[in-house]
């Protein structure tokens, strides 16, 4: 085999190696960040951090380390007035202590919501363990809203596991709208959340 043959075979083999690798990767490669996030979400759902009923969860400023433990998906980083939801779904998971024996009260303070000219109203559904427990509409210029909902006992289980899901009807990116360089798909700016037992009136 002369030098010319070696070179031709080398170039051909390299070409096959590239094309073969590319085809193999296209079929077998999976976005490792997405895989990591899914695994992380699954772990948070299966083994949620414990939450003592009545504790105020702060989503604003820098004192949010405790709050972050409950965030499963769809939350941006904390800002001065709260934490924005990012995307169509934002989820929290927690293990309630003590395990509730009756209905619970959920208070969510929504500082503001993403609205714009084409979509002047933002709408939110709140779900507890897949049961719809609340709905809110937020118009441009509305003051901060305290959304109070009741989590029925039927939506809770004996282990005190609670999945709170916020369904955002119209998440929008300020960048896509030409408002700023912010690429996040903003929904609502959550300031505080508290879950507490429902006070029973004395007979």
């Amino acid at each position: 085999m002369n030098q010319l043959h070696i070179m031709v075979s080398g170039v051909a083999m390299l070409g096959c190696f590239y094309i073969g690798s590319w085809a193999f990767f296209k079929i077998n490669s999976v976005d490792f960040i997405v895989v990591q996030h899914l695994a992380y979400m699954e772990q948070r759902r299966r083994e949620p951090a414990s939450y003592t009923l009545g504790t105020l969860l702060n989503f604003a400023g820098e004192i949010t380390a405790a709050t972050k433990r409950y965030q499963v998906q769809g939350w941006s980083h904390p800002e001065t007035w709260g934490t924005w939801t990012d995307g169509a779904v934002a989820e929290l998971a927690m293990r309630l202590t003590p395990a509730p024996s009756g209905p619970l009260k959920l208070m969510i303070r929504i500082q503001t919501a993403m609205t714009h000219r084409q979509q002047p109203i933002q709408e939110i559904d709140v779900l507890a363990n897949d049961a719809v427990i609340g709905h809110a509409s937020f118009r441009a210029g509305d003051p901060p809203l305290d959304l109070n909902s009741l989590i029925p006992a039927t939506a809770l289980n004996n282990e005190g596991m609670l999945r709170l899901v916020f369904r955002i009807a119209h998440p929008s990116s300020p960048k896509a709208l030409g408002m700023s360089e912010d690429p996040r798909r903003l929904g609502i700016l959550v300031n505080q959340i508290r879950i507490s037992t429902v006070a029973v009136d004395a007979p």
Partner: protein, 383 residues
């Protein structure tokens, strides 16, 4: 005696290039030290002047990502405050060189990184000088191009713990070797280039056009008859594909670099002109600055057409289109300054206009000084 005369005439420009390099680095270091003394180190606000820590001046921003690879290898762990950001976004050749230098010289990772960058930059400057002669331009143009590269705005990056100087060296080496028909060497340099940064694979554009101009369509139509000129094109993607395999075997994602760049930094692509229009109309002054700077570099690349350096021009054009196709304006200037043929084009255009050349060099030097201050003080404009 003849060889002494030849050696002297050969050493003359090399010594001048070294002097220019040293003068430019001295100027930048003095600016950095003065900035630290007056504004403090951004993370600690310390106003330090510790000579042992001098290399730290050239370790900022992305340097920390390279340091994480050098210290503990690639990791899938994401940064707490930047979800999706991992060190897989950074290519392996430069950290490998720093690790080798660290082991060889027994110095800290930062010192080794700065040494590797500076040595690569010096070697690149010497090769650029030779390249200028290879394309039949005068030595004067070579020295002028070296001057422009040493004082180009954001040129401090060539001494920093970044990949730019390694990329510059491998790019000029691959082009120089190809022009001298050292096909295997050119291909190997190109393979290393694509292991330094993904856009290194664009060397194939240069090689393909050079091949067409030199040999016509023959090597492409009958590769089995003339395989040698195809070696640079065949070898250029090798570094990138090997990195893909490494990523696949460690994460299950061959395109881990692109995945983490997208999730962690928001790197996405769009039409270049749409992105440029967005950057130019942005309210962010830095975005405007980066976009305008890249446009200036690109417009100066037209000087290459005057010299009939079509391969170099189309290479610069393809790389610029790639840069502009990213939706983020960050670092457009830094990315652009590795396109050394542009500096050759400017130098040739200004060869007989010394006043204009020195005026241009002074303006570049001033802006470089300002950007060095911003870099030392941790300001975003210098990323």
């Amino acid at each position: 005696m003849r060889w002494i005369v030849a050696l002297r005439s050969r050493l003359g420009p090399y010594a001048r290039i070294l002097l220019i390099f040293l003068a430019s680095r001295l100027m930048l270091t003095v600016i950095g030290v003065l900035t630290l003394a007056n504004f403090g180190d951004p993370p600690t606000q310390d106003h330090w002047l510790d000579w042992d820590k001098l290399p730290h001046l050239y370790a900022r921003w992305d340097s920390n990502w390279y340091l994480s690879i050098i210290d503990s290898g690639y990791s899938r762990v994401e940064v707490a405050e930047q979800a999706g950001a991992t060190n897989f976004a950074f290519f392996p050749l430069y950290p490998l060189l720093v690790i080798a230098a660290q082991k060889m010289w027994g110095v800290s990772a930062i010192t080794a990184g700065v040494l590797v960058s500076n040595l690569a930059f010096i070697a690149a400057l010497l090769l650029i000088f030779e390249y200028v002669q290879a394309i039949r331009l005068s030595r004067r143009v070579g020295i002028m191009a070296v001057l422009l590269l040493c004082f180009v705005p954001q040129g401090f990056i060539f001494s920093a713990l970044y990949t730019e100087s390694t990329f510059l060296l491998l790019l000029v080496a691959a082009m120089y070797a190809l022009r001298h028909r050292f096909y295997l060497i050119s291909g190997l340099c190109a393979a290393l280039l694509s292991a330094t940064r993904a856009n290194g694979v664009f060397f194939v554009v240069f090689a393909a056009i050079w091949l067409l101009r030199q040999h016509g369509l023959r090597p492409l139509l009958y590769p089995w008859r003339h395989p040698e000129p195809l070696l640079p094109i065949a070898l250029a993607p090798l570094g990138l594909v090997i990195f893909w395999w490494f990523c696949f075997l460690t994460t299950g994602d061959a395109f881990a670099q692109a995945s983490t760049a997208w999730h962690g930094w928001g790197w996405q692509t769009d039409l270049p002109w749409r992105n440029l229009a967005n950057h130019l109309s942005s309210t962010n002054l830095n975005a405007q600055f980066w976009a305008i700077s890249s446009l200036v570099v690109f417009s100066l690349s037209f000087t290459l057409l005057r010299l009939k350096l079509y391969e170099e021009f189309i290479f610069c054009l393809s790389i610029m289109l790639l840069y502009w196709s990213g939706v983020l304006p960050n670092s457009l200037l830094r990315y652009s300054i590795v396109l050394f043929p542009v500096f050759i084009g400017i130098s040739s255009a200004l060869e007989n206009h010394p006043f204009l050349f020195w005026l241009w060099l002074s303006l570049c030097g001033l802006l470089n000084g300002f950007l060095m201050t911003a870099w030392t003080a941790g300001r975003e404009i210098s990323i």
